[in-house]
Symmetry: C2
Subunit: 350 residues, 2 copies
């Protein structure tokens, strides 16, 4: 009875979600077939807050404040992980995706212009993928102000445009899209830039230790594995791999903004590592230093007998990548480069 009226809604939904593009893409892409999925939280601790005065909180706008006792025991510093298992598993171990600063696992789910993210890309190649929100971000929750002793940092909408090598640095963002100064040849889908700040997550600057603890707990729970990290997660990936080298079959660092303990580079001797850097770095005020730190660390790993491949994408003819490589127009091309490297390491069943 409802059929005539409801024949179109699922088509309408497909249009709304941008799935109209799917048939064309499906020609090239392996199918997405997920037969198991779920989520869990890992790590964390209980924090006791005591001796705080009651807080006045307004529960209904315009209403009188109610006195709330904030003292008590709180669950803090846990980490949220969502996992997907494809029907035909070809990765020999699970693939863990760790996002960067001011962001969450959404980084890998979708691109600002609505294409599929690396989560789907690797699932389509048969990897079991675990995508997490770092401590304090997204579905991991965040602690009462007494626990981390610092306020959260919120990024203004133009900040990533100027800082992630999308625009031409400081002052290149404008609220009028037509006036934004984009780096010429940039692969970031700049026409959809305004969708990107929707993904931003407030962050703290004082939570490295609990974040590393939670990632270590994750590795202890689900690895051996391959870990792919981006930006801020560079230090998390390298440090956790230094603590659990036997659990990490390979580490892929996409523009790591920091690295591991330089004094313990030898701990990574048995961890094959791939480091990737995009374009526009030479003329950026910050990135030459950040990349040099990464290359120095790679040198230490090699000196200790480790195996590190550093890929400078423009030197390989892959030009125009911003810091958000997994969102750039050529994100699939770079994913394929990573996939080929993983195959060469014997971590995927051809």
């Amino acid at each position: 009875m409802l059929r005539p009226m409801l024949a179109t809604p699922l088509r309408a939904l497909a249009v709304a979600l941008g799935l109209q593009a799917a048939p064309a893409m499906a020609v090239e892409e392996p199918p997405l077939e997920i037969t198991a999925m779920g989520s869990f939280h890992v790590g964390g601790r209980l924090a006791e807050i005591s001796g705080q005065p009651p807080r006045d909180i307004v529960f209904t706008p315009g209403g009188p404040p109610a006195r709330v006792d904030v003292n008590g025991r709180y669950q803090v510093e846990q980490m949220y992980v969502q996992w997907f298992r494809p029907k035909a598993e070809r990765g020999r171990v699970p693939l863990l995706l760790w996002h960067g600063g001011g962001l969450s696992g959404v980084t890998y789910e979708t691109t600002p212009d609505g294409r599929e993210g690396w989560l789907n890309w690797f699932l389509r190649r048969g990897w079991t993928v675990l995508n997490s929100d770092a401590v304090e971000r997204g579905r991991s929750g965040w602690a009462p102000p007494e626990v981390w002793g610092a306020p959260a940092l919120h990024l203004p909408v133009g900040n990533p445009f100027e800082r992630f090598r999308i625009g031409q640095g400081q002052g290149s963002y404008d609220s009028d899209p037509a006036k934004r100064q984009v780096l010429p040849g940039n692969q970031f889908p700049v026409e959809a830039y305004d969708q990107f700040p929707l993904q931003l997550s407030p962050r703290w600057t004082t939570t490295d230790a609990p974040t590393i603890a939670a990632y270590t707990a994750l590795v202890d729970k689900v690895c051996p594995c391959v870990i792919l990290v981006h930006s801020q997660a560079g230090q998390f990936g390298f440090r956790v791999a230094q603590a659990r080298p036997d659990k990490v079959m390979a580490l892929i660092a996409v523009e790591p903004s920091s690295v591991g303990d330089p004094g313990r580079a030898d701990a990574l001797r048995t961890v094959p590592t791939l480091m990737l850097y995009g374009d526009f770095i030479d003329d950026d005020p910050r990135w030459p230093t950040i990349r040099r730190t990464g290359l120095d660390f790679a040198g230490r790993m090699r000196a200790a007998g480790g195996h590190v491949d550093v890929v400078d994408l423009p030197a390989q003819g892959i030009r125009g990548n911003s810091h958000m490589i997994m969102m750039d127009r050529n994100s699939g091309e770079v994913a394929q480069l990573i996939q080929t490297w993983l195959q060469q390491k014997g971590l995927w069943r051809p």
Copy 2:
């Protein structure tokens, strides 16, 4: 070459994730087969912060504070939505899951004792499901303190135990699980209670209007649909349905803690509605009033010519349900009750 060494990790992962239980369950359950998924943010606005003094933020623990200018334009009040499409679609419209207060979409993903949540349950029955994090929660992000004019509220670990009809009210929680006073016959997996606070999300009490705006934007984007709401989302579901009655083919309210605009109950005349209430309500200090508000609203809808089914689960012989019905041991039984109702409404292809 890696095969012998790595033959076990995926089995180990399955154990770690509790998938060992899957074969037994798979006998009864329809298969999970997802062939499309993604996420997006919807709604929100730009908020300008100006005239604020610089803030001192410590970026490295122990390091000197850096002066940060917090003035600028911020993206706020957007909402995160993750969607999944099953291979064999049988729901005539998508099913939207809206979680309750202090929680996020994780509510529907998993139970504290590691069983599958209602997200998977309805996907296995062929529904396209959209699971969201309300404004301010989870992957939706949250606004700088200047925007909402109130601090976030964090729930201590024992709060849901005492307030969600798991324990015997105020004072029934103890940090020692053996000393917790559980309501006799409770269906909540109390042995795994300590996993539940891991899912808690800080919340505000001043964000109803932007939350309703974002849910309305979601309905405008992806509906017609069925909406299933829980607890705090009761008011969001009823109010959005009042604003878009032509887009909501059915509304399922699981223990709504509040309802729609009583003066506009007639707007829901064409929206078939199912309201569900669990056990232990009569002896609770808060829930008799909350339920009465719901029943009054149902009465107004009926008086206006609407169709509302109110199910008192214990009166139907389904006993022991806490407020977190989707996590209770009999969550599948209640999901089946909802599914049967949806089939009766012609919203599912048998």
